[in-house]
Symmetry: C2
């Protein structure tokens, strides 16, 4: 049995985050010592580590919850997991695509911008009227089609 500090070290999950996970019910409440401190069994630490790895892969908590319940009742598990993973992969691909288009737009904007000039062509371009019609609206439309809002961005 380990206190929360050791559990944090071994799982790689921040102490505050462990308590947060307990609060939102993604990991079960651990036992307590006589003095009221949380005590973690090795398998509870394994669960925390699992959650961290899934977060590292960019999965949202809600999906991880599904993963965890799937591991409890191990009936036709793998198909669902694969489906969720592939859906997540699609989202990652969309995100990479969006960022790549953004990168391109920003690059061409900042390229017009020479150091030392007083009036800034980049800011000018962003202030102008007929800007969205050109290049940016293109990527905007692409994004809106697929509606990829939920900022998942992996933890560091």
């Amino acid at each position: 049995m380990f206190t929360i500090g050791k559990a944090s070290e071994q799982s790689g999950v921040n102490i505050e985050t462990i308590r947060y996970y307990e609060r939102i019910g993604i990991v079960p409440k651990p036992g307590r010592s006589a003095g009221g401190r949380r005590l973690y069994a090795p398998d509870e630490i394994a669960k925390l580590r699992f959650v961290r790895r899934c977060r590292d892969l960019g999965f949202p908590i809600s999906i991880i919850q599904t993963f965890l319940s799937l591991t409890e009742q191990d009936e036709r598990t793998c198909g669902e997991v694969k489906a969720l993973a592939e859906n997540h992969l699609d989202e990652i691909d969309t995100k990479i695509g969006t960022l790549t288009r953004l990168r391109k737009a920003l690059l061409s904007l900042s390229a017009s911008c020479d150091d030392g000039t007083a009036a800034c062509p980049m800011l000018d371009a962003l202030m102008k009227d007929g800007f969205d019609e050109d290049s940016a609206e293109q990527s905007k439309a692409d994004i809106d089609e697929t509606t990829v809002n939920e900022s998942f961005v992996p933890r560091t």
Copy 2:
């Protein structure tokens, strides 16, 4: 002069978001009608549009605020703008790199996962002990080096 609804249409900024921008002080408080409604002049709408475009490019509000104050006092504007834009470009690049590594990791994990299997190799792998040492830790280390946390992810 336009009411908030028209201003929203013309700028592409959601009504609630306009009021939010006013509340946090990124755009100035507009005038009011006799009945207490916000009235926007064309240049205020232009400012809103500028903010939206910057958000579309993924700039955080704080940077946009800098942009706006730079346009007020137009002294050595362009150099600073370019620097901020290039810094943002670097962040985008890092994010694309992270997502690409993630994609790879997730792809190889889900590849091991055949539909219909009861026990899931992917979940197994994530539960296992010596997992972080292999491929995931690589990308983890890369991320930690550069410390890119602030989830910026462009609006749709």
